[in-house]
Symmetry: C2
Subunit: 299 residues, 2 copies
Amino acid sequence: MSPNDEHAKNLPIGIFDSGVGGLTVYRALHDRLPNERFIYLGDTARVPYGTKSLATVERYAIENSQFLASLGIKLLVVACNTASALALPEIRRSVGLDVVGVIGPGARKAVRLTKDRTDPRIGIIATEATVQSKAYSKAIRAASENAEIIESSCPLFVPLAEENWTSEPETYSIAKKYLSEIVDFNVDSLVLGCTHYPILRNVIQQTVGENVNLIDSGEACAEEVDALLKEKDLENSLPSTRGKRQLCDDLDHFYVTDAADRFARVAERFLGTKPAKLEAVEVFGTDELGISKREKTEK
Amino acid sequence: MSPNDEHAKNLPIGIFDSGVGGLTVYRALHDRLPNERFIYLGDTARVPYGTKSLATVERYAIENSQFLASLGIKLLVVACNTASALALPEIRRSVGLDVVGVIGPGARKAVRLTKDRTDPRIGIIATEATVQSKAYSKAIRAASENAEIIESSCPLFVPLAEENWTSEPETYSIAKKYLSEIVDFNVDSLVLGCTHYPILRNVIQQTVGENVNLIDSGEACAEEVDALLKEKDLENSLPSTRGKRQLCDDLDHFYVTDAADRFARVAERFLGTKPAKLEAVEVFGTDELGISKREKTEK
């Protein structure tokens, strides 16, 4: 193996999200790949993406991806469902790297888990923009001809997760309302198609019933990233990262495009700990020569 | 009166907000000033402001204000509470116009309505950023030495308003939770310090009790704009606008920085009608010569 290959193996994995929600994907990657280092970018200056247009989401996604690529990463994870739904081909074109989104892995896992059924029924819950894009339905249809699919948006789930109302009666009541069609449809598997939803996993599981497989698209993404690193012989070989990693420790770097304080606060709610290394940056993508135009604005 | 004065009188009033919430301020202005024309800018590409930093909110607010100023307006209303709280001095410096925010008017009206009490008690509900800025407390304190003040943030009220859940049991239950300290504090007046909250007015009124004065800061703002136009002799004198105005008719122009479809949909929920004239634009403020760099991206 050449020194170059060795260098590539030991680069961190880049993760970008529109804000804090992707931290659930970071956690899933961290749990699955304890020897890897991560660089996370949350585009908190421009969150949320779920209510923005295709052109705008594509532009932001490319700027974020180029920023992470400029830092030196071996693979890019697009943790944001909206960006995965709308901009994956553009992102792939703009960075010369393997790119893994969350929608394909979530859809494929749903199909895998229902493949023994004669009449597989799959539900998807996601933001308005992701549901409107039909990205999950298309990805499921590509992997299964006979699955029956139902998609619903749950706009209040994101603010409920950010409030950390994970067991309040209001959350149960709202979940019952949002998920009634899913329950009536009698799904076998339900894809949590928004990065915030795993925070409300218990409420959702109790609402749809214990017999329904809940699919965390971040976990499904981590499984595919794991397989890809093995296939391409890109697993980290540095001894320093082995066996002693904690979530948010100083081997992982977090960048936000605004309001680092709030990000740290919500990270603590979601992960139980604040990032050891967190920095606010401006992200302008790269110029024609591939040189990043980013500029650090605060620590 | 010179032709120039006559021209200035008949210019529209500019309104900017971070998104759709400012439509409640537009409605209040429209109701109060039926002879005026309005130009509304919703910065939907960068909404929400309430979770962003001071520097970012200032930059966005100035770009939006300069965009509206470049179209020709006689007065600028900053409908966004966060921008009013954080950026009003910077906005005033950047445009050579009278600028009216929502916080000063809301605070002054609260003081006016409680001035006969020996022990006036005023509550404020707003976004996290507005509450943290203490802008309402400072404005109330400037107008009243003895008022007792309580401030609370109600993060779920914005998504509940956008879902149009104006009478759902979950909304009542959440309101009861958020407003319990306000109720215990026994306020005389309660300022609705976020543009979305008037949509939930009935729920809020029932939760705090019928004897509490609810102050819509958009209505308070419209009253001060009315007084200012009279004082400066800037009331519209065109016969064409008199007595036949409808909300969102074709004398008012609406601009958004992204996702015009979603804006129209929420406008219909909030106002019962869609804007006749709605355009998506990019807002880059003006260059050193005062020339707007805006660029139209879609119709």
